[in-house]
């Protein structure tokens, strides 16, 4: 999950450019912005009927990315794309066995998904379990014509046969590391960055 803080690190959050000993920035705001511009072009290239697109962000990190992609698509094509928010928590496959009850995030699906090409947007893809859950959740909202997946970062460690259609950057990581999209102030407002934190716990995406 993206909201865990690194354990055993009592120092306050590092200032921009500062040194947080077990934290490295792998994508800064500019790199994120460039990746999203490229992905928007790839989406345009790969989809004929752009009016059918429906961007769906997986909270929390996927939501600002989906909004930025919508803005980019508008800039490229002049077409407005619907943006939805889809929380996957109630569809997780580890609730029953673990007994943990993570907080639920917002779901807002402003229009029907029937006959739309849904593009799921997540910040960090890993095991594929979040995408699996997102697809199950999506099917409860109707029957999309197709589903494609954007991940800003693909860190590998796939446990399910899930393919990411648009990747911002492949970042090889250890399983013990945590990769997260964040803003320095804890919000999801720009400037954003993707960091790798040591000993962040298990891969979860």
């Amino acid at each position: 999950m993206t909201n865990d803080s690194p354990r055993g690190n009592p120092s306050p959050p590092a200032q921009a450019g500062g040194a947080e000993s077990d934290c490295r920035v792998v994508l800064d705001d500019l790199a994120i912005s460039r990746a999203l511009t490229r992905i928007a072009h790839e989406i345009v290239e790969r989809n004929e009927d752009l009016g059918k697109l429906y961007l769906v962000g997986v909270p929390n990190g996927g939501v600002p990315l989906a909004r930025q992609l919508a803005a980019n698509l508008h800039e490229i094509t002049g077409i407005d794309t619907v943006v939805g928010i889809l929380d996957t928590t109630l569809y997780r496959d580890d609730l029953i066995s673990s007994g943990s009850r993570p907080p639920l995030r917002r779901t807002e699906m402003p229009s029907a998904v029937d006959d739309r090409v849904v593009i799921l947007v997540d910040d960090v893809a890993s095991t594929g379990r979040t995408i699996r859950a997102a697809m199950d959740a999506l099917m409860d909202f109707g029957r999309p014509r197709g589903v494609q997946v954007v991940a800003l970062v693909d860190r590998g460690h796939r446990e399910l046969p899930i393919k990411i259609d648009y990747v911002g950057k492949n970042i090889p990581t250890k399983r013990s590391e945590l990769v997260k999209l964040r803003a320095r102030d804890g919000s999801y407002q720009r400037p954003l960055e993707v960091v790798v934190l040591a000993e962040g716990g298990r891969a979860d995406g």
């Binding site: 109630l90 569809y91 029953i96 009850r101 639920l104 917002r106 779901t107 199950d136």
Partner: protein, 311 residues
């Protein structure tokens, strides 16, 4: 904490209440979907153990469990065969041997859900026990007020009716006080418990004073049999003095809402017109009841005792 299930609002911290309300706000979205079902509690079993008849609350828990994909079993022992305390616990132990993941208990005697919780591995949710508590009703009231007003802190809430015999009143008093509201109660003196103000509420025997400036006016259901002499002279007199109608509501804030736990005795606690129209939010309360019970089941069902006690 919610370590032993949900037995009463009195046991909860404000942070527990916040967590339940936030979870319920997400569950509301599930209730607005075309397909109102999520797989979260698939394979879990929830037992509704109702020793006292209740269609509304039981149905609300049943719908809540089913929307989370749990299997919901209704167990309604005939009360005649269960008058002895031992046999209640016996029933509970038998149920526990069938490994439910949560047990929802209603009983006419205060404290029975706690006694059952002491025997069970599964979490117990109190769905109303005697004149003690009805926690999910208070939680759905909080959710409804927060939805209407955007906050609870600093509001004035007036509860009118048989405060002394009402589990809804008790749970609501704890709930609204913990969330930072000012709580007033209004009733004829015979329906006010002794020392009620020690709970932190202001007590009134004049409806007009109690309603003055209120943001929320909550009328409780009057048990008609209690009105036959001992507590109050007549239904008509109760209605004239403590029944809420549009004329009396003028003393409340202009944007005050009217609530009622249902079912309404139209023309007794509430004028018929108020019972069915704004500013009453009675049907929102019912709708929110499902979301609250989904939240409580999500947070509690299937959590083994060890996991719960670690919190």
């Amino acid at each position: 904490m919610m370590g032993r299930g949900l037995l009463g609002i009195e046991d909860l911290e404000r942070s527990d209440i916040e967590r339940i309300l936030e979870t319920a706000e997400r569950m509301q979205e599930v209730g607005r979907r075309d397909v109102k079902k999520v797989p979260t509690l698939r394979g879990r079993t929830i037992v509704n153990l109702f020793f006292e008849p209740s269609t509304r609350t039981r149905t609300s828990f049943e719908i809540a469990g089913k929307r989370l994909s749990a299997d919901v079993v209704n167990f309604m022992p005939a009360s005649s065969s269960l008058t002895k305390h031992e046999s209640i616990l016996d029933t509970a132990k038998n149920l526990d041997a069938m490994d439910p993941d949560a047990v929802v208990v209603r009983h006419a005697v205060a404290g029975v859900p706690k006694r059952i919780a002491d025997e069970l591995g599964a979490p117990v949710i109190n769905a109303g026990d005697g004149a003690h508590e009805h926690p999910t009703q208070a939680l759905l009231d909080l959710l409804t007020v927060r939805e209407e007003k955007g906050r609870i802190d600093g509001l004035t809430v007036t509860i009118i009716g048989d405060i002394a015999h009402s589990r809804v009143a008790r749970s609501d008093i704890y709930a609204f006080l913990k969330m930072g509201a000012e709580v007033r109660v209004a009733a004829p003196p015979t329906m006010l418990p002794a020392c009620v103000e020690s709970l932190g509420v202001k007590a009134f025997t004049s409806l007009r004073e109690a309603i003055d400036g209120a943001d929320v006016v909550m009328a409780l259901r009057i048990q008609m049999e209690r009105l036959s002499g001992a507590l109050f002279p007549s239904v008509r007199e109760y209605s004239a003095t403590f029944g809420v109608d549009r004329a009396k509501l003028r003393y409340a804030k202009d944007d005050a809402i009217v609530m009622h736990p249902g079912p309404v005795n139209r023309g007794v606690e509430l004028s018929p017109d108020l019972a069915d129209h704004r500013p009453s939010v009675i049907l929102d309360q019912v709708r929110n009841g499902v979301a609250i019970r989904m939240a409580v089941l999500y947070l509690l069902a299937g959590r083994r005792r060890v996991e719960r006690e670690e919190e």
